[in-house]
Each structure stands twice: as C-alpha cells, then as structure tokens.
C-alpha cells in the first residue's frame, strides 16, 4: 500500500556544547549556538524515506520552529522527503510540549497521513512526549521506541524496544503514529545533486493553529545549572600527569597488579 507519511523533525542546539543561562533565567543564551537535526529524528526521516521506497507513497517533513529550521528541512528534502512544511512557532525553547504537540497535530490534520513518525525523544527537552501526545490528540493507534517497521497491507508490524534489550512485537492498523528509536536504520548522507536541488525547493510556511489554552497554563519558572555537580575528584594537570595519577590511583585501589 502506498503510504502518505508525515515525519516530524525538530531542530535543536548541538547538545555537545556547553550552555549558559540567559540573564532572565528563562532560557539558555542562544547567541552563537549552532543547531542540528535532533538525533532520533534522523532515524525517523530515514525510516520514512525507506518505507516510501519500499511501498510507494510520499514523505512530508514537518517542523514547528523559527525560520532557522528551514536549514534542517532542506536537508530532509535532500535526503528524500518530497515536501517540507514549517509551522512558524517563534518560541525557540518550546518547553511547553503540550503546545508544540497541539500545533503539530493541527498541521497533521491538514495533511494526508497513513503514518506519522517522530523521534523517540528530543535531545534538548528530552520529554519523549510529543509523539504520544499527537497520537492521543489525533486518536491514532501508536507504538513507541520503534526499531523495526514492516507494512502488511493496511496494517504495520512493529517492534518496540523495552528495557534490558527486550522487544515487544505487535501489529497496528493504519493510520498510526510511531516514535522511532536511535539505531533503527543507518541514516543516509544526501548526495550533492540532491542538496543543490533542495536549495531551490520551496518550504511551505503555515501559521500555528490557534490553540485552546483553557486546559492549563504553563510557565517556565527558572533555568539553572544542575545543582551539586557531583563530588568527582578531578585529576588536574596535562595528559601525561593525569595518566600518571590515574595509574597510581588504580594501583592503590588494587585494580592494577604487577
């Protein structure tokens, strides 16, 4: 069955960076940060493109975010998405996942969708919430932490990862929503001609749907560095000195014999 697939992609600050809190304490300092596609979303996009390649269909890459997110959507086009849609959402941090999910759900309602894919978690917010919320809002059956997807007629068979290396396999009817886990596939690199082509493609911009905010009020109270940065004894010095001290410690503790 040819599938209309919507894949949700989030642009996040590179989590390898160090972060400072903005003076008002409500966000991190964002000047000079570099942004990238959220790790798990790379796998969600790859899964979407592979499903299209095997079953036929179309992939729409969807992001809620500021203008800078267009860069990420262009990469998605270069990697095989057929269309890109950005919902203009000017809240750079997006801590209120309920709001982000409602905005995305409203956009998905306007797009044909047999299958909606998200990443398992965003590496900035780390909520693992947006996918499930969208499924609940749209009334879609869903599966989380998915590492394998196979289409069987109007159904899909998925494997969801559990703790400790176990997996749960089950069958869902379409349309459905899946949150895709790291390692589900090997994301491809975009070939140069595709990058050039994507640079010229238009990215559809839509305003965020008005959200009924009567259910709850959300507020960031304050961000801070994590408290009590552990009590690790840090070994000072240069590599050679550090290695020497570490060797000594390991000997003292009885881990090095002879």
């Amino acid at each position: 069955m040819a599938l209309n697939i919507v894949v949700c992609l989030k642009q996040i600050p590179n989590p390898d960076l160090q972060f400072q809190i903005a003076p008002d304490g409500l966000d991190i300092k964002r000047e000079g940060l570099n942004y990238k596609t959220n790790g798990a979303d790379e796998y969600a996009l790859e899964e979407a493109v592979r499903l299209k390649e095997t079953n036929g269909g179309r992939v729409v890459a969807l992001a809620a975010g500021p203008k800078r997110a267009e860069q990420m959507l262009r990469e998605a086009l270069a990697k095989g998405a057929d269309e890109a849609v950005r919902v203009g959402h000017e809240d750079p941090a997006g801590h209120d996942v309920g709001r982000v999910a409602r905005i995305l759900a409203a956009a998905i309602r306007t797009l044909p969708h047999d299958l909606v894919l998200t990443g398992v978690q965003s590496d900035d917010i780390g909520g693992s919430a947006t996918g499930g919320l969208i499924a609940g809002l749209l009334g879609l059956p869903h599966a989380s932490v998915v590492t394998r997807v196979q289409v069987r007629g109007s159904e899909i068979e998925v494997m969801s990862e559990l703790e400790g290396g176990l997996g749960r396999t089950y069958v869902l009817p379409l349309p459905a929503l899946l949150t895709i886990q790291f390692g589900a596939n090997q994301p491809r690199y975009a070939p140069l001609p595709a990058i050039m082509k994507a640079a010229r493609q238009t990215i559809r911009e839509v305003p965020p749907a008005p959200i009924d905010s009567s259910a709850y009020a959300f507020k960031v109270r304050r961000l801070s560095p994590p408290p009590a940065r552990g009590n690790a004894e840090m070994i000072p010095g240069r590599a050679a000195e550090q290695a020497k001290r570490l060797a000594q410690l390991l000997r003292e503790k009885g881990f090095v014999r002879g």
Binding site: Q18, S128, A129, T130, G136, G165, A215, V220, F255
Partner: protein
C-alpha cells in the same frame, strides 16, 4: 476534582518494576500537600498477589484484573484509566518515565486533553499549581516549570530519582469493576523478543572499560581491548557504538542494554545521558574521561579526568606496563 494522587503500577512477567515503589513514595508526598490519599492502580491478569504486595505503600490499591490486561497494551490500558479517572479524577496521575510510561502517559494526556509534564526528576504541588523539575540539554541544564490547571496533571517521573518508601500499615485492596472491551483494542500483541546471547556477559565482569562516541573511530577500540586485558576486565560501550555495530549489542550498558555493577567502571568519551547512567551508576568505583567539563558523567563519577581519552589511554597503558 479529587485531592488524591494516583500512581500506575508497572510490572513485567510477574514482577513489579522497581520504579513503582518510587512512584508510591512520591504519591504519598504529593497527597500530603493536596490533603488527599496516595492510591495505586494495577492492571493485570491473575495479579492479586502483586497488587497485595503494594498495599503497604498506599491508602488503596485498585486492581483491575482482566485477560486483556495480561501484557501492557496501550488501548486497553487507556480504556481502564479513562474510565477510572472519569469517575474520580485524581489531582495527579504519576507514571514512570519508562518504555511503558512514555508509550502510555503522553497518549492518555492527549486523548483526555490533560496537562502533561514528563521525565521529571522532581515534582511538587504549590497549592493547586504543579511545579516540575526537569533536566534539559543532555543533563547540562536544570529547569523548573509551572503548570496550573483544574484538570488531572499527568506526570512521568524518571526512575531512580526518588527514594523508595518505608512500608506503612497496609491500605485496602479494591477490585475495580471496569469492564475491558478487548475487541476495541486496536493493536494486536505478537510476542516478546529476547536478545540472543552468544557473547561474554559484561554483567559478570569486575572491571569494565567502556567506550562512547568520544572515541571517534572504530580502530581506537584496540586501545580499550588492551587496557581491559591488562585490568582483567572487559570492554563495554554506550549505545551509539553498538548501533554502529562497532561492538555487539551484548556490550551495551544502559537502560536498553545491560545493567552492570563492576568494581571499576571506566567511562571514556561517554557523555552520561540518563539512559546510560541508569545502567552503571551503582558501580563500585567510577572513573570518567571526557573533554567536556560540563558532561553529566562527572556527576556520577568518583574520579574525573577532563582530557582527550585518545591521549590518556596510551599514556595510561605505558604507566601500567601494557
């Protein structure tokens, strides 16, 4: 709105998840500030004994026993919780931030239009406002968030962040009469898949030299093999390395891999994401080597080395004669 705080008991193959007792402890604390009672709900089949084992930790344990609930299943679970919460909406519903929790809680919140906050390291009530503490950006930032609503707050709590409770005089065990319409379930369970182990069991090792994405290249694993051999240990890894198939899946430490407790855990080029830390935090002696001083691995390490692991390891090997 009921002032009670309800927690969802999680169990697998006849055993309670350890996080369930943590939820019970947090439920008691929250219930004290909402002037309600801590209550638990357990969905299962032939699960009377399990439910009974929870009664010392709550005022009431509600057992919903039905063949359709033998395994966790999102559809039937949602049906039961909806029916229960429509009847008496609790102030807070607490769920573990686990594979079951993040499958279940957000979807329920979406379907019932309830306020949701997930992966909390702490949560409290200030009057009727919920204040949640969460970690952001790979643990490098902490945030406090406020949600105000007259509806049930759905909260997922990160396992391992709350101390399990002391037992109290047992609460009552109630069997709930919620009828489960198994036919309405949209998903069809097929099977549980288990890893095929044909490798060493890193869970048995006294020393684990663990490599993360910071080691950059597969070739650098040779250093780790040499060091592990010299220390009489084995090589473990964070998830990205097993995803890349640089090492077999059996070497993966963490939530979706192995939980280990060696005498020595040497974490090299591993950032310390919560899913990794969940699998190694109880190791006897933890040494972390990382170039980033703000890497959260230093929060659980006993000894930290801020340095390039590709410089430290060769130097260390020389020092200890390997």
């Amino acid at each position: 709105m009921d002032p009670d705080v309800l927690f969802l008991a999680e169990h697998f193959e006849g055993k309670l998840a350890p996080s369930t007792l943590e939820l019970a402890a947090k439920a008691r604390e929250l219930a004290a500030s909402s002037s309600g009672a801590p209550r638990g709900i357990l969905l299962g089949h032939d699960a009377g004994a399990l439910a009974d084992s929870l009664t010392p930790y709550a005022s009431e344990i509600v057992l919903v026993d039905d063949p359709a609930l033998a395994e966790y299943a999102p559809g039937p679970y949602e049906q039961v919780l909806r029916a229960t919460m429509d009847r008496t909406p609790p102030r807070v519903l607490l769920v573990a931030h686990s594979a079951v929790g993040y499958d279940f809680a957000p979807a329920l919140a979406g379907a019932m239009d309830l306020p949701l906050v997930t992966n909390c390291v702490d949560v409290r009530l200030e009057g009727s406002t919920l204040v949640a503490t969460r970690r952001l950006l790979n643990e490098k930032v902490q945030g406090e968030f406020e949600i105000a609503s007259d509806r049930t707050y759905v909260v997922t709590l990160r396992p391992g962040t709350v101390k399990p409770p002391e037992p109290h005089p047992p609460g009552r065990l109630t069997r709930s009469e919620v009828a489960v319409d198994a036919g309405a379930a949209r998903e069809r369970f097929l099977r549980i898949e288990r890893p095929q182990v044909q490798d060493i069991d890193i869970g048995q090792a006294d020393v684990i030299v663990a490599a993360g994405r910071g080691i950059k290249k597969k070739e650098n694993l040779a250093l780790f093999e040499t060091l592990a051999k010299r220390l009489g240990g084995v090589v473990g890894a964070s998830r990205p390395l097993t995803d890349l198939e640089w090492l077999p899946k059996t070497r993966q430490v963490g939530q979706s891999g192995k939980t280990v407790r060696p005498k020595l855990y040497l974490a090299c080029g591993i950032s310390g994401a919560m899913q990794h830390v969940a699998g190694m935090k109880d190791s006897g002696f933890i040494v972390a080597i990382n170039t980033d001083p703000s890497a959260p691995i230093f929060e659980v390490a006993h000894v930290g080395v801020q340095a390039n692991v590709l410089e430290i390891l060769p130097a260390l090997l020389k020092e200890i004669g390997a």
